[in-house]
């Protein structure tokens, strides 16, 4: 084993943003995103200001633009729809580069693209500066329903185990001459998925038995939740970004 040392999203560093407790960063990210979403789409200047905010936090967290932008590509499949809007939209048409496009559609596309990108960048900054473990701790401190945080905790713990199992099953299959190149040769793979599901299910049962044996009664004991929780000062420091974002959004709403 030994998998799971590498992080796709987390960037190890000791920046001021990294040192903030997870719960304040989560709240800041959510408020920022809400402010972005609430901004009227015609207020172009506001989106520029948001971009500056994101860039400032990224610089403070020592996260490079290349790192951020390459990971932001994940939003591509979701904004593809936006590309189609200017062609499909109704209403007034405008001439852009020789194409007659719907003005409403252009606005709609811009709306999705700008808000989506800003939201993805904010989430990426949160992920880059907070370990998955801390994210769950933060959600727990924010009184997120325990069922959800528990599921996330289990996922965090058992993802490697499952991936390891899947890898061993694949090696065993390939070792016996399975070489699926075409769709109709996927039988072995599909059966493997089924077997993996069964194994995961059985493991879940064994884990539950082991938990019961240690006195589990259906609620996770709150152990060290209080430790290291955010201080008032840290809340204030982290509040700068969402407060700025909210003021920008409010100004944009008033002006429009």
């Amino acid at each position: 084993m030994g998998a799971g040392h590498g992080h796709v999203l987390y960037r190890e560093s000791d920046s001021p943003v990294h040192r903030l407790p997870p719960e304040v960063k989560i709240v800041a990210m959510v408020v920022f995103t809400l402010a972005v979403v609430a901004t009227p789409r015609e207020a172009f200047w506001a989106f520029g200001a948001y971009a500056v905010l994101v860039a400032a936090v990224a610089a403070l967290a020592r996260v490079g633009p290349r790192w951020l932008l390459s990971r932001a590509l994940i939003e591509l499949p979701f904004v593809l729809f936006a590309v189609a809007l200017p062609f499909l939209g109704s209403g007034d048409r405008v001439e852009v580069l020789g194409l007659r496009l719907s003005e409403d559609g252009l606005h709609g596309a811009w709306n999705i693209l700008a808000k989506g990108t800003l939201g993805v960048l904010a989430s990426l900054l949160l992920a880059a500066t907070t370990t998955t473990r801390d994210l769950i701790v933060g959600l727990d401190r924010l009184h997120c329903p325990q069922v959800l945080t528990q599921i996330a905790t289990f996922m965090l713990r058992y993802l490697d185990v499952l991936v390891g199992e899947a890898r061993r099953m694949r090696v065993a299959r390939i070792s016996r001459g399975d070489d699926p190149r075409f769709l109709w040769q996927l039988r072995g793979f599909a059966a493997g998925i089924g077997a993996l599901f069964l194994r995961a299910f059985e493991r879940g049962e064994r884990v539950y038995l082991a938990m019961l044996s240690r006195g589990y009664t259906g609620r996770m004991p709150a152990v060290w939740q209080g430790e290291g929780a955010a201080s008032a000062g840290q809340w204030l420091v982290a509040a700068t970004v969402p407060v700025l974002a909210a003021s920008i959004a409010a100004t944009a709403v008033v002006l429009s």
């Binding site: 799971g4 493991r203 038995l209 082991a210 044996s213 240690r214 006195g215 009664t217 004991p221 152990v223």
Partner: protein, 252 residues
């Protein structure tokens, strides 16, 4: 200190019968008595009912007939009784990945005592003590999946030691361990001041750690004697699908 003095008998199993819902009878009247401080090996081939018996010891399965008592407390389906029984019986399951389910070693070791209601400094002390007992103190903040298999098994032992059990029940403790990890675990287990019931078909390991062994086969205890006596009885072992490894001669 790990291990609490209550009565002279840690485990008393009387006439336990158990039939699975599908009608398969897994245990047909098991009697087993383990005095405090003893180390007993529970031997038997696969499918003999060893794991079923283990799940009776802390009330996860309820016997169709018969009774189990731990340190004088009889297991009943009552919630308070079950909670106390699960504190007294520390089961270390075969696959440490089943037992260690939290993101860090320390959190996992704290899970049991926290369920008992311990908090703060007292809880931290339990965790430190249990990890020290298995020599894993320096790994307290690591993720279980980043530990070696032997280390994970030792942490699994710590997770139940932290509950100060009356009896430690280990399911196949030597399985999947390399020789060095196997020896290290034996040294740790020998040094623990608790009653020990070790479920295994690793006969040399039983001989190394336990003076007394019982053989469970087909849902019945078929032999109960000093381990060396049992291991020297080749026909008995053969009857119950137990075999000594090649080249191993038990002490007479």
């Amino acid at each position: 200190m790990i291990g609490v003095v209550q009565t002279a008998v840690s485990l008393d199993v009387r006439g336990v019968r158990y039939a699975y819902p599908d009608g398969h009878v897994a245990l047909q009247g098991v009697d087993l008595n383990v005095p405090r401080g003893d180390r007993v090996a529970l031997l038997g081939p696969n499918g003999a009912g060893k794991t079923t018996l283990v799940l009776h010891l802390n009330g996860i399965l309820t016997p169709t007939e018969g009774s189990v008592s731990v340190g004088g407390l009889t297991v009943t389906p009552d919630r308070a009784v079950l909670a106390e029984v699960r504190r007294r019986v520390g089961i270390v399951f075969q696959d440490p990945d089943d037992q260690l389910f939290l993101p860090t070693v320390a959190e996992d070791v704290a899970f049991g005592p926290a369920n008992l209601g311990l908090r703060g400094a007292e809880l931290a002390a339990r965790v430190d003590e249990a990890l020290a007992a298995v020599g894993m103190s320096e790994h307290r903040d690591r993720a279980p999946q980043h530990l070696s298999f032997g280390q994970r098994r030792r942490v699994a032992v710590a997770t139940v030691l932290a509950m100060h059990p009356e009896i430690l029940v280990l399911d196949e403790p030597s399985s999947n361990l390399d020789p060095a990890a196997r020896r290290e675990l034996a040294e740790i287990l020998r040094g623990l001041p608790v009653t020990l019931l070790m479920v295994t078909h690793d006969l040399p390991y039983a001989a190394e750690l336990c003076e007394r062994s019982v053989i469970l086969d087909n849902g019945r205890i078929v032999a109960d004697a000093p381990t060396n006596t049992l291991l020297n009885d080749a026909p008995l072992l053969a009857r119950h699908r137990l075999e000594l490894p090649y080249g191993f001669t038990p002490q007479p």
